[in-house]
Symmetry: C2
Subunit: 337 residues, 2 copies
């Protein structure tokens, strides 16, 4: 039994009285900001437990000027890469709790105004920004508000910020290295939709660069080609690719929505997997695993953990690297050989 079930809030004064000390002493025991004798500390902690004391968040925030809450700004506009976001959110919450922080959920569609509100009201100590665009209006705002923030992905100008992302260039290289090691000499990248490249989105360009670089280094041919979304479009783009380059035997796919259709369409195009064509994808592992697809997973949990860790460091005013790239790993399954 934790003393009292429900009822009125237990205050620090209650604990102090129960332990026979001053309220400030209780505070110091709990924060460890001053030395307290072992006996007193023991008595206080016992009282805390006996009364089921939890410090009042509002009062604490007011007095200490820190909320112990961070905001997670998610691209909740429907139609995103949902499972990844979810796993990411889980990791963020879990990690934040480990640092004794809670997580406030904010939707991206509140936009810059949301950041203003949150910063102005001191609701949170810092912000995790997902789904950052190359020229994101919230990024300069973050700088201006002096609101500690960590970005997932990275914008064009990342000076003075902290960004976490998968090292997509390395991911591209990894795929090519794997295929080359398996003996493939003609490789193709079936990439993101053309619009994504045109927008100059970082991850797509970096992956392509990695593929091309690795191919050059290893002396294999590599062609790259955008790929539109939707089963029909994927089939069309894949067919076109194979028509132009019929001798391709290694395929890198970086387009979540293309994974399924590609695997379905290859046999129809006369290519058995992996006998005729090896397929490697850069996509969430959930998507790859059930199909036995060799892939470089997007490590959502790891990104979440890293992001929180960086933010905590910033909150302590410790220096953090501007860009943190996560090392990709390739999981070999049945579609490559």
């Amino acid at each position: 039994m934790t003393g009292r079930g429900s009822g009125e809030q237990v205050t620090i004064a209650d604990v102090a009285r129960h332990a026979g000390v001053a309220a400030s002493t209780v505070s110091y025991v709990l924060s460890g900001k001053r030395t307290i004798s072992a006996t007193t500390r023991g008595r206080v902690l016992a009282s805390v437990r006996a009364l089921g004391y939890h410090p009042n968040a509002g009062a604490r925030a007011l007095a200490s000027r820190k909320a112990n809450v961070i905001a997670l700004v998610l691209p909740l506009r429907t139609g995103m890469q949902v499972p990844v976001v979810m796993r990411f959110a889980t990791a963020v919450v879990t990690t934040a709790r480990r640092y004794d922080h809670d997580v406030l959920l904010v939707t991206a569609d509140e936009g810059p105004a949301g950041l203003h509100r949150i910063a102005g009201s001191a609701l949170v100590d810092g912000v995790l920004l997902m789904d950052v665009e190359l020229e994101d209006s919230r990024v300069p705002l973050l700088r201006e508000l002096a609101l500690p923030g960590v970005l997932i992905g990275h914008p064009a100008d990342s000076t003075g910020l902290a960004c976490v992302d998968l090292d997509f260039r390395r991911a591209g290289e990894l795929c090519v290295e794997h295929l080359a090691a398996a003996g493939h000499r003609r490789i193709a990248l079936l990439g993101a939709p053309a619009a994504v490249y045109d927008r100059g989105t970082g991850f797509a360009h970096r992956t392509r660069a990695g593929v091309v670089a690795a191919a050059g280094r290893l002396g294999v041919d590599a062609v790259t080609r955008p790929c539109e979304e939707g089963p029909a479009a994927v089939r069309r783009d894949l067919a076109a690719l194979l028509a132009e380059h019929p001798d391709v035997t290694g395929l890198v796919v970086q387009n979540e929505s293309a994974v399924g259709p590609v695997l379905a369409a290859l046999p129809l195009l006369g290519r058995r997997v992996p006998q005729d064509v090896s397929v490697v994808a850069i996509c969430p592992d959930e998507l790859a695993e059930p199909s036995g697809l060799t892939c470089v997973p997007v490590p959502a949990e790891e990104v979440g953990r890293q992001a929180v860790t960086l933010l905590m460091r910033r909150l302590r005013d410790e220096p953090v690297p501007e860009v943190t790239l996560l090392e990709p790993r390739l999981t070999v399954r049945d579609t490559s050989g």
Copy 2:
């Protein structure tokens, strides 16, 4: 320009000084809890805007004893019906903002302890509990803590609580009614995994009851059968079902992970859709829509909205119904006729 970009917090005293009134007057203007002359109000609001004032959340929470934050307890343990959860969360955040509340994200794996912490620290005013089990340890705790809460789904004993859920019984009826109206006389329900029924999970039982009841009422045959997860298992269970009941022409599927495999497997089992067999699913619309599947969608947004609305009502100490069932609607597409 909103006055000052970054820098120190603007307090209510700053606004009061700027407007030439007392701080309490500013407070009353903002809360509307006392009548204030139009001229004064105008002056105050102008100052608020000029200075870019946002009330300090901690101070406000401390003084008013309400945090203006609600907790959303999500089943973030990986492997849930992810897209639904996501849309639900979006709706919750958006609706909560409309009531001037923010949303704290809590993972279910913090369990009862998390509720204790949150309640004890007055971090939130109320709780939205998702993924409620029939005998959920958090439910009695909610009662004991006198923490206003709204449940998504409903537990065995819902007295004194507020629950929101899709009316699954009605959903089951709806599916049967639709199939019967199309002339089908032998109908099968391919349901949740057996374990789900064994756990006594409400929605599965209620759906089955609805199917059986409607079939009885309409004088059609209905068989029901659990269905395990995973493409292979689904194929097996479906094949078994059709072997035992080869004359089934109407199929109700209530198992997200089964939808794709069922549609893929039916042709292989010699059944064309919808010529030989009509298929109706109870599943997220995203899943059904791309396949042209007739379905009763799970209205995640609507549930989220309702849940927040109910919670807000509870926070205002207004009476709320113990159980709120959402009327299911059936969307006719290509797989039934």
